[in-house]
């Protein structure tokens, strides 16, 4: 909770800088040796990580099977396009709805728990969904997954825009990212956001001042799952396929690493930074060595050991130190 009125405005300066940077990304990404599709992937995972951080960073709930809801979103998007109708809005609705439904069911069992029991149950349920995606062949296509998922046009009623090119898809995904960022920013400064932050700090006291902690934990998990589903739906659209790998335990682990490396425990922008760092590491380190994941893993270990607040935390510390030293320099000589 922040009682400073400026910080809780709908649009903030860091938001504008981030949006401007991302809007300009297709114009320069190729000139730095990268490619348009990377931008799509990064923004999709930023959405996923932001939604996940609502759970981990803001409510303090250790969930390690969140890839399941990303995967449910991807399958729901694909199945709706392949079997119901080729419609972007229907696909996005299905992705969010079924991921939220899966999340709500799991949260019903989880929300009484905390700590290690909570974490283990999230892994167990994540594995259940992953196993289902492999074995329910008739629905999911088994290990091959769903292929040839169409990329529907963006139909606004008065105009229809093709999303066939990666650049067009990037701007659509970016639009959803902007909406998620503004929505989540508002949420964390709302009474609901205040309560989840209180639960993170002291679950028992929150209950003793009259809050239904179970219901808040259930709601935040469901909401986070629906955002994961949105990201998963966009991923299916971008990949034009949906497959079990995105629901696996290691895929769930990636989003945790992104949040922690970026600094999601101390900053709203941590997941955004973490997602960008992950994909840049994958492509830049990956170009240099096949063992890029080993180096990324070592970086993760170094961050956890030496700067658990992550990159955003390191930046905040730097800014704080600079402000303090500037204040000391301004003090008049009294000796």
């Amino acid at each position: 909770m922040n009682t400073n009125t400026g910080v809780a405005a709908w649009i903030t300066r860091p938001m504008l800088i981030t949006f401007a940077l991302l809007v300009s990304l297709p114009l320069w990404i190729e000139s730095v040796g990268l490619y348009q599709y990377l931008g799509v992937e990064i923004v999709i995972w930023m959405v996923f990580a932001l939604g996940f951080n609502l759970l981990l960073g803001y409510t303090g709930l250790p969930a390690f099977g969140h890839g399941a809801y990303f995967g449910i979103g991807a399958y729901a998007f694909g199945l709706s396009q392949l079997h119901l109708a080729e419609s972007l809005w229907l696909g996005i609705f299905c992705a969010m709805f079924f991921a939220a439904l899966g999340g709500a069911m799991v949260a019903t069992f989880l929300s009484h728990r905390r700590g290690i029991y909570y974490a283990l149950l999230t892994i167990a349920f994540g594995q259940v969904f992953w196993f289902l995606s492999i074995k329910w062949h008739r629905l999911t296509g088994g290990e091959d997954g769903l292929l040839n998922i169409p990329r529907p046009d963006l139909d606004l009623g008065f105009v229809s825009i093709s999303l066939a090119s990666n650049q067009a898809l990037f701007y659509f995904v970016l639009l959803l990212f902007v909406l998620v960022v503004i929505g989540l920013w508002r949420l964390i400064h709302s009474p609901f956001g205040t309560v989840i932050k209180a639960i993170k700090q002291n679950e028992m006291r929150t209950a003793f001042i009259g809050y239904n902690v179970w219901l808040y934990k259930w709601l935040v998990f469901t909401l986070s799952a629906s955002i994961a589903g949105l990201a998963g739906g966009m991923f299916a659209m971008a990949q034009e396929s949906a497959y079990p790998d995105v629901m696996s335990l290691h895929a769930s682990g990636f989003v945790v690493m992104m949040v922690l490396i970026g600094g999601g425990m101390v900053s709203f922008w941590g997941p955004v930074i973490g997602a960008a760092v992950y994909f840049l590491a994958r492509d830049l380190l990956g170009a240099a060595t096949e063992t890029w994941l080993l180096w990324y893993g070592l970086m993760f270990m170094a961050v956890i050991m030496f700067k658990p607040e992550g990159i955003a935390g390191a930046w905040q510390g730097l800014v704080k130190r600079r402000k303090e030293s500037a204040r000391v320099e301004k003090k008049p000589f009294t000796g």
Partner: protein, 247 residues
């Protein structure tokens, strides 16, 4: 009729009986005390009365309503609030935020995901008023985690007051406080008596005997005697025990 009553409460953990046939009643507008040696079952009794533990037998009645076994959140919403012996604050929040989250106007809008908390001037005024009551108004925007111990004790009470309770349970409020801070706390409790019904568990007998209208003595999980401070001072059991020497 008493505002709050415990009738024949019985609580055990496994084979171990911790509370046995506890009968207590707290009158509106009074300060009631619960005392007893370490391990007597005082805090367990508090935890049963405020919903943290369900009793195995017996009833808890608040203002004529049976609240036995209700969840802490439901009991809190009925107007019963408590502080904790071991500090239970929101350390990453500022002092005013700790109080604000307990204010009914904020609590009732807990599921609102779009309104800004800071925009609620009624809630902010209420939180500021509570901070003034507990002497922390000047520290409203300091981080709760960085407050000195005595101020954290005061804030612990402030958080409990924020929900506008009718009945306030204070669990060992002087725990860890020095002589001056204890004296200031005694003044605060006397001020609060004007507006609230208060029940205190306390091991500092001087503090309790100086404030309470009625005191129940718990030992071996049972209420062994009760009365006014003067009656207890004259009680042979209290006189012969270590508790009598401390009062």
């Amino acid at each position: 009729m008493a505002l709050f009553e415990a009738q024949n409460l019985h609580k055990r953990f496994g084979d171990r009986v911790v509370l046995e046939e506890i009968n207590l009643s707290f009158e509106a507008g009074q300060i009631s005390g619960i005392m007893g040696p370490n391990g007597a079952g005082k805090t367990t009794c508090f935890n049963v009365l405020t919903g943290r533990y369900k009793p195995n037998r017996g009833k808890v009645i608040f203002d004529g309503e049976d609240i036995t076994g209700m969840a802490p959140r439901s009991i809190a919403r009925k107007g019963i609030s408590r502080s904790f012996q071991i500090m239970n604050l929101f350390d990453d929040f500022s002092v005013i935020e700790n109080v604000l989250i307990g204010v009914p106007q904020v609590r009732d809008r807990g599921f609102n995901m779009t309104r800004r908390v800071a925009a609620d001037s009624v809630a902010m005024d209420k939180a500021a008023m509570v901070l003034e009551q507990v002497g922390l108004k000047d520290k409203a925007f300091e981080n709760a985690g960085s407050l000195p111990y005595g101020d954290r004790r005061a804030l612990e009470i402030g958080v409990a007051l924020a929900s506008e309770p009718r009945l306030l349970f204070l669990d060992e409020p002087t725990s860890g406080l020095g002589i001056d801070a204890t004296a200031r706390l005694a003044e605060l409790v006397l001020e609060l008596k004007q507006a609230y019904t208060i029940v205190i568990i306390e091991h500092d007998m001087k503090f309790l005997f100086g404030l309470a209208d009625n005191i129940a003595v718990i030992h071996w999980g049972q209420v062994i005697t009760r009365g006014t401070p003067d009656e207890l001072r004259a009680n042979k059991w209290v006189q012969s025990s270590n508790l009598g020497k401390l009062a």
